[in-house]
Amino acid sequence: MGMTIAEKIIALAAGVKEVKPGDIHTVALDRMMSNDGTTHLTVDMYYDKLKHPRIADTRKMVFVVDHNVPADSPKTAAAQKKMRDFAREHGIDFYEGEGVCHQIMMERYVCPGELIFGADSHTCTYGALGAFGTGVGCTDLLYGMVTGTSWVLVPETVKFELTGSLPQGVYPRDLMLTIIGHIGANGCNYQVMEFCGDGAKRLSVNDRMVLCNLAVEAGAKTAIFEADEVALKYLESRGRKPKAVFSSDADASYAGSYTFDLSKIKPVTARPDFVDDVVGTEEVCGIRIDEAFLGSCNNGRIDDLRVGAAILNGRKVAGHVRFLVVPASQEVYRQALAEGLIDIFMAGGAIVMNPNCSVCWGSCQGVIGENEVLISTGTRNFKGRAGHPSSRVYLGSAATVTASAIKGEICMADML
Amino acid sequence: MEQFSGKVWVLGDDIDTDIIIPTEYLALETIEDMKLFGFRPLRPELASQIGAGDIIVAGKNFGCGSSREQAPEIIKALGIACVVARSFARIFFRNSINNGLLLIEQPDLYGDIKEGDTITVTVNQSISYRGKQYPITSLPENLVEIIKAGGLVKAMRKRNGLE
């Protein structure tokens, strides 16, 4: 029986020839990532609950402070200090203010064929480089850190065949929101979303990140692309080599399959309060907004900033709107500076912040107030996610978000 | 001549407005919400210990720092009858007058006073403590007018024909 990419990665990490969905295996983890959402809890448990605290291999650990940067309270600062001191003491790679964890992992660490745990639900992003990345809690992270291993229940794989190309003005974000809207928030519960087809091959690594990043919003354990020439070229440009390059066997077994024709995708928006409540953007045009957000691990890369800047160039953000633009990493920020994008955002009246989770995390920067409305390129729009429980969050593409910031109400770029 | 007595709380020199009310509480909606955070960085329990009619005696430059008017408002809301200090910062002084918080400049009391003791204030005349008299000077005429009116808001309401 053939295996899918995800199954092959697990088999490799488990040191066995073959795995199938439903099996439980002990795997050696290639990498672990933890951010300031929960690392302080992991550190507490490390010292309080372990008889013999030790780290299996510090070279496999990456700590990133990204959720509350710069810190907004003594409580946040204390949690980050705990994380910082631990990293320093144990020689763990530590990033603070360099950007969003998943962006840093993709820029500097992830290799095809690796099995990576991250203490953050959007760890599924790493599938864009043909790696198996999945989100875990702080306890699993602790176990992995101490032993270098964990257990994995092998998930089924669902095939998503992508054909054709996205039309002008339609973006990977519209595609993924459409997919989630179609299959539902539980659509791939505990499964792997495997993207393939000629349409998938045409997507850049950045585009693939947009898709994989949101997989968890359909309940998926992770998402994955085959590490083809596009991925290998990205890797090479950063001086890294794959651990293993896998393709799914012709006789691999899938729990289901979908086909999406990219040329038929339209601009869409997810309405409050659910990521799968996806409608054509024209249905929500005209809704007044108070804040717009361009950033996050989903849409904070150079492609997204270019889209936003091209629309904002020569125009101004509406008087009553707070338009936060937050590059996903310092590397993206520096590139945006060099391309003149930051200047366009500043000239247009945007609020440009340092790379961090910002509005998407909704707790320390750009929070929205009572009855306010936000349109965002973030990952979630659950009730109260970005601030006040009465506030409402719409999810859209960088183009829709920027156009809305200019108009002062939800609108599409071609309506300006 | 107005006269009152009160239990004394002693604070030091240069008590600044970040101590009186830290910035992180300034977006709370009302003074009532804020007052329990008064003096928190220096004496976290003080705000809940102050009783109506108590008096603060402090060293020099009381109220230095920001123009945040919440500083004198909170002191008043906590029930403080007056603040006696060796000297006051300028903006704080003005804000206190505007809110009807009585401030008294007295150079020597601070050196003698012990926390928990009682003093008696005879307004514009003297403070009496343990049998000793500490003279106090009267305020300029225009400030007396504002206090007589009951603070700046009342004075303006009167001007606009609302009182």
Binding site: A71 | D16, E24
Partner: protein
Amino acid sequence: MGQTIIEKIIAHNIGRETVKPGEIVTVKVDRVMIHDIFIPFVADKFEEMGFTRLWDADKAVLVYDHLVPASQLDDTRHFRIGDEFAKKYGMKNVHRSDGICHQLMTEAGYVKPGHVVFGTDSHTTTYGCVGAFSSGIGYTEMASVLGTGTMWIRVPETIKVEINGELPPGVMSKDIILRLIGDLGADGATYRALEFSGSAVDGMTVASRMAMANMAIEAGAKCALFTPDHKTAEYCEIELDEFQKSLTGDGDALYCQTISYQAEEMVPVLACPSQVDKIRPVSELAGTVIDQVFIGSCTNGRLEDLQAAAEILKGKRVSPFVKLIVTPASRKVYQEAVACGAISIIAEAGAIITHPGCGLCCGRAGGILSDGERVVATNNRNFLGRMGTSKVEIFLASPMTAAVCALAGKITHA
């Protein structure tokens, strides 16, 4: 009898030849500044007082800066109330995310030499850098000014501060004002005007004068004054008229105190925890390990400050496990810093660069710290608890000193 600068401004404002310290007079206000933190209270008191219109909507400026970007839910309430007030009373001068109030008031041309200006913030003394009489007031006072356009003041005495000579390399105007505050004490200039003059002052940019005027309140001063010169004229984009040109202290003016400094004797200094007047030379604290550096604020967030920091940071990296947070003072400063390459250099060094605003200085967000942490900051206050818990140590410094410390990870002489 000669007059000091403040006496000339007040006399001119009330239509008299001269005034004397101690006199109580009523001035006509040329401009007011209100910011986001206090607008709800100003609006409340204004309406409670029974006013139905502003004395002159064009003379009022509303700036959102302490709460940008919003870090707590309540912050957005301030924006809503501010927007409603501005709309109701016809205010057009509203800046929602353009930077710090004190930077904008002169940068955007609201304040000119000789003006009388009040603001709901203690650092309103800043505009003395262009020879205006500017001072901070509370929100009740501001409400009454908004309604009447006037305010009573007591003519202050003037302290003359002369600084002659040339500043040594590594020393900035921030070091001078810190030294002065240390010598005067936190209440040494209470109720007084600080009047600056001397060849070193003449040689300073308006930005450098701004850092000094900004901190006058930390010595308790009512205001700070600098004589408007050709640099002022260029900065304000005006030509000085006769009155503005006259704004210099007369030779026979009466000063309550004169302090003289020789610029060559100045050294880089720090204001140590937790008082602004606790001044020590940097060299005395060299080696103290730090956790964070903040370059920004209305005191030192301008282009020349960023350029000074960039020159030191160029080609180097911030010390591991140390955070360098850089917050430019205005949108315009940020753009200029991008254009001249300073932002790039600062970013390459590993700084966390945030949107223009008050940032960490006002202690709501922007780099709050925890027990046992130390920060070197270029702002104007280091009071207990200002940037986190009461066990955080804040050292105030110049941008050059701050940049050097960020690279070393400890307090270091430039």
